[in-house]
């Protein structure tokens, strides 16, 4: 009577076994077997998976290298923007805190001859710029306005040997004349040999001569020695400003008001 069902016995047994497995999924032994089989399969298939994935990994690697290059460029741009932002913020703070009326200008040209002596700014008499107005940065004095055009002006830098600035040592209020010696340094002349000057002393404008307002920082003393005549000191000053790295400058356009 059961003969017609005989061929189905293996199938029914398989179903019962499968159902037994399904309903014992929480069993730790079943899970251990499952984990063992899973581990074996993973170990066996690992080299094949790795090999087959190689082209995709290659493409992905190529794409990631490209992205890395792009990101590096972006990061460099971001860093540059950050530095510029910081510099502009410092300039803005300086402008707001300054006791002078300042007009900001960008450097649009430098003199083509060897030895940096002048710059051209993108501000002119339309911006109330006049000859002999002092040009500064947050770091210190840069020079003076030498010539003014409608929308530009030429700035004579302190590195020009033809310019002289009335200066004063902050340590002892000793006055003198600051001028360029043709190199990157400045020289502070007119200080008697009896005056005590040391390295690191600060030099500011004295305000004499009615060109530069007083107390604009010029630089620091880096070398002091007795001049050849024996009466005066030969003082070398490192300027506060690197004239080759100037981008934005301020012109003191209303110094009379505060002087």
């Amino acid at each position: 009577m059961l003969d017609p069902l005989k061929p189905y016995v293996p199938w029914l047994a398989a179903i019962l076994l499968a159902l037994g497995l399904i309903f014992s999924n929480d069993n730790t032994q079943v899970n251990a077997i499952r984990a063992g089989i899973s581990d074996c399969i993973v170990v066996i298939t690992h080299p094949f998976r790795t090999t087959l994935q190689a082209p995709r990994v290659w493409d992905e690697n190529k794409y990631l290298r490209k992205r890395l290059a792009e990101m590096s460029l972006g990061l460099a741009r971001l860093g540059k923007s950050g530095a510029e932002c910081e510099r502009l913020r410092r300039m803005l703070d300086f402008k707001q805190n300054a006791k002078y009326k300042l007009t900001a200008g960008d450097v649009i040209a430098r003199n083509p001859e060897s030895g940096l002596r002048s710059l051209v700014l993108n501000i002119g008499y339309m911006d109330s710029i006049k000859v002999n107005q002092a040009v500064i940065t947050p770091e210190g004095l840069v020079g003076r306005v030498h010539r003014v055009n409608k929308e530009s002006c030429v700035v004579q830098l302190l590195s020009d040997p033809n310019i002289g600035v009335a200066g004063r040592l902050t340590s002892n209020n000793e006055d003198g004349i600051v001028h360029s010696v043709g190199s990157s340094d400045l020289r502070f002349d007119g200080v008697p040999a009896t005056v005590n000057v040391e390295q690191g002393d600060s030099l500011v404008t004295s305000g004499s001569g009615n060109v530069f307002p007083s107390n604009l920082f010029i630089g620091s003393v880096i070398e002091v020695k007795r001049a050849s005549n024996g009466w005066l000191l030969d003082i070398r000053v490192q300027p506060a400003v690197n004239y080759r790295l100037l981008d934005e400058l301020f012109v003191i356009s209303d110094a009379d008001r505060t002087r």
């Binding site: 499968a18 159902l19 497995l21 089989i37 399969i41 298939t45 094949f48």
Partner: protein, 176 residues
């Protein structure tokens, strides 16, 4: 069902190779999240060549291996694979093992659909996804994809081995 050790080893090696292919090739064969079930094709081929009981056993083992690697209940794929293999074997017995491409296509489609439908009844337990929706989105595309890949095996040169549907069809034509 006769068990020949050499032949069993051969099919076991083939089984491991298909399992490796199923795992390793899946990402390459994926189309919108749908993978062909290469193991099912293997099980149906075994069923065709060696009969329903061999298919039942191989289907059970293949399903067990598949379940071990998935998050599903252990035994679900064993149940579905062994069931469809057994009934495919029964159907082939009645057809006297003469199957052409369209017959092979229908066989694969029905078994692939049946397998995934059976497993979905367990998989969807406690899920908010409806069976109809799941069948429409997963079962049918997987069945179609598996059928297409399985049909390639039927027409491929390496499918032309003794005992396969293709060679037997040719054999019958020759006898005529």
């Amino acid at each position: 069902m006769q068990i020949v050790p050499g032949e069993t080893l051969k099919y076991a090696i083939w089984g491991v190779a298909v399992l490796i292919a199923q795992i390793a090739l899946s990402p390459l064969l994926e189309i919108r999240g749908i993978h062909p079930d290469l193991l099912l094709i293997y099980v149906i081929v075994i069923t065709f060549k060696k009969g329903k009981y061999a298919g039942l056993i191989i289907g059970f083992i293949a399903g067990f291996a598949q379940d071990s690697l998935s998050l599903e209940f252990l035994g679900v794929m064993s149940l579905s694979k062994s069931t469809v293999a057994f009934w495919a074997g029964k159907w082939l017995e009645n057809r006297e093992k003469v199957v052409n491409l369209s017959g092979w296509f229908v066989l694969l489609l029905i078994t692939a659909f049946g397998q995934d439908f059976i497993s979905s009844l367990f998989i969807l337990q406690g899920s908010h996804i409806g069976v109809f929706e799941y069948v429409l989105r997963n079962v049918v595309p997987t069945a179609v994809y598996t059928t297409v890949i399985g049909s390639l095996w039927f027409i491929a040169p390496f499918g032309n081995v003794r005992g396969t549907a293709k060679s037997q069809t040719r054999l019958k034509r020759f006898k005529r």
